[in-house]
């Protein structure tokens, strides 16, 4: 299948989501369920990678900053900006592309193969709208929150690593966190988070929804959706950096 055919089908799938819900209450229930699945379900892994990401950043920055002319608080400043600008939005979203993306693709793929989607269609439900839209909205609502949590935990991890290893004092780290802080960086990180959240929910939903075949194809769709999502996240990261920075 050519790129344009695939892209066209992707757009048609997205367009099909926007119809009047059969029952708003049921859609809201599904939205809340997905918020919990994506948000609470990914919180553990996000917390772990964020703490270690911050800790490793501190150690590596300290290792590279050997000049006595540079104050130690600069380490915290570099860690803060790296975490906010790149690590939290991009790295966390790439991990979430694997965690959330594969779950969405395999869930929808399994529903397609076991005729559950057909069963919903026959009941008179717009399956694109009922199955994809709540996932997409939930991801867009929850993933930026996870990114914010990741930012905080990344800096906590950096502070812990810096102070426990004796590289810099807690006071120096806190001073570094405050110096030359640009709120625009947070705006930039949020813009990236929303874009990535859309990518890592809509691409797997497209591949999962359109699975044809059996268990093998579900696995293939899941893998393909994660690969495509990761590539698109990196591409979008570059484009947004070029435009917004």
């Amino acid at each position: 299948m050519t790129f344009f055919t695939e892209f066209g089908r992707y757009l048609l799938t997205l367009r099909g989501m926007f119809t009047k819900p059969e029952n708003g209450k049921m859609y809201w229930k599904e939205f809340m369920h997905q918020c919990s699945e994506i948000g609470i379900g990914s919180l553990g892994i996000v917390a772990i990678i964020s703490v270690f990401m911050g800790a490793v950043s501190t150690l590596q920055t300290a290792y590279q900053l050997v000049s006595p002319l540079i104050p130690l608080s600069t380490i915290a400043q570099i860690v803060r900006d790296t975490v906010i600008l790149e690590f939290s939005p991009t790295l966390v979203c790439i991990v979430l592309a694997g965690v959330v993306g594969s779950k969405i693709a395999s869930e929808l793929g399994n529903m397609r193969v076991s005729e559950q989607i057909d069963a919903l269609e026959i009941m008179g439900i717009n399956t694109k709208s009922y199955l994809i839209l709540p996932k997409l909205l939930a991801a867009t609502a929850v993933i930026p929150m996870l990114v914010v949590i990741s930012m905080v935990l990344g800096m906590v991890g950096g502070r812990l690593a810096g102070t426990l290893t004796g590289i810099l004092s807690p006071a120096a780290f806190d001073k570094g966190l405050h110096q030359y802080f640009k709120p625009y960086n947070v705006f930039f990180a949020m813009a990236k988070s929303y874009t990535f959240a859309f990518i890592i929910s809509s691409i797997p939903a497209y591949y999962g929804y359109n699975v044809q075949g059996g268990a093998l194809e579900i696995g293939r769709a899941s893998t393909k959706s994660v690969v495509v999502s990761c590539v698109l996240v990196l591409f979008a990261d570059y484009v947004l950096s070029a435009i917004l920075l």
């Binding site: 059969e22 029952n23 559950q116 009941m123 008179g124 439900i125």
Partner: protein, 269 residues
């Protein structure tokens, strides 16, 4: 009643359904039979709108399905129940939640009324007390019965069953057939069944359409099928030696009855 008129459907170069017309009557079990790949499932998917026919018309009680807008189709679909080959139950939901789902989506009943209706249909399919079980915890026959319960919970006017007996033992198959037949009569609905099962053909086939390579090869009732002289149909129905012998015995039995009646008539004269 559902009328289909000159339905055609193909995928690429391959024609899967070729100019099929028939009527599926209300209050009857209408069976579509045929070998694998004869187009039965595609025809059923065209009937319920999962596939769009290339040509022809599908008319539900005077309403042309082929010309309906998506909104009208949605309304009509609330009058359609379907039992899938693999039951198609929602894995993450319990039996009760599976049956509640259409009620939650399409009715404004109170939670108490909905639960009462769930218990009613579960009772109807003899699955009392299975409310809290998950599909993975119940047998194939029970899954089919939950599928039937979900299909009838909104009191549909049309019931479609895609191979309701596949993967079931003969005894459970008979129970499912009996249940479908009873529900068809009780609710006076138009039931269309895709099947390979010869027991179903003989037991509940009020109206049977035999499909061969995408076209309608034969049409009749379960009483007429025994005496059909259509070679393709006979090869399909009486594929085993046992069934051929059974057919011969049945024909001899009927012939004997006719001869006896003749003798009686002659004696009476």
């Amino acid at each position: 009643m559902i009328e289909i008129k000159n339905i055609k459907k193909g995928f690429g170069e391959k024609i899967v359904i070729d100019d099929v017309s028939t009527e599926f009557r209300t209050g009857k079990c209408n069976l579509i039979i045929g070998t694998s790949g004869s187009g039965k499932t595609v025809l059923m998917k065209c009937l319920v709108g999962l596939f769009e026919p290339d040509a022809g018309e599908i008319v539900y009680d005077g309403m042309n399905f082929s010309e309906m807008t998506e909104e009208h189709r949605k309304e009509l679909r609330q009058n359609i129940g379907m039992l899938f080959q693999g039951s198609a139950l929602f894995d993450s939901m319990t039996v009760e939640q599976n049956i509640l789902f259409p009620l939650d989506m399409f009715t404004k009943n109170t939670p108490g009324e909905k639960l009462k209706r769930v218990d009613e249909v579960l009772d109807r399919v003899n699955l009392q007390g299975a409310n809290s079980k998950f599909p993975a915890e119940i047998s194939g026959g029970m899954k089919k019965r939950v599928g039937i319960a979900r299909a009838i919970v909104l009191n549909p006017r049309y019931l479609f069953c895609d191979e309701p007996n596949s993967g079931l033992d003969p005894q459970t198959s008979l129970l499912i057939d009996k249940l479908i037949k009873e529900i068809t009569l009780e609710y006076n609905i138009t039931t269309v069944i895709n099947t390979h099962d010869m027991n179903s053909v003989m037991e509940i086939g009020d109206h049977i359409m035999y499909m061969y390579q995408g076209h309608k090869e034969w049409e009749g009732t379960n009483k007429e099928i025994i005496f059909s002289k259509n070679k393709l149909l006979n090869d399909f129905i009486f594929a085993s030696e046992f069934l051929r012998d059974a057919k011969d015995m049945r024909m001899l039995e009927v012939k004997g009855k006719i001869d006896n009646n003749r003798n009686m008539d002659e004696l009476l004269k």
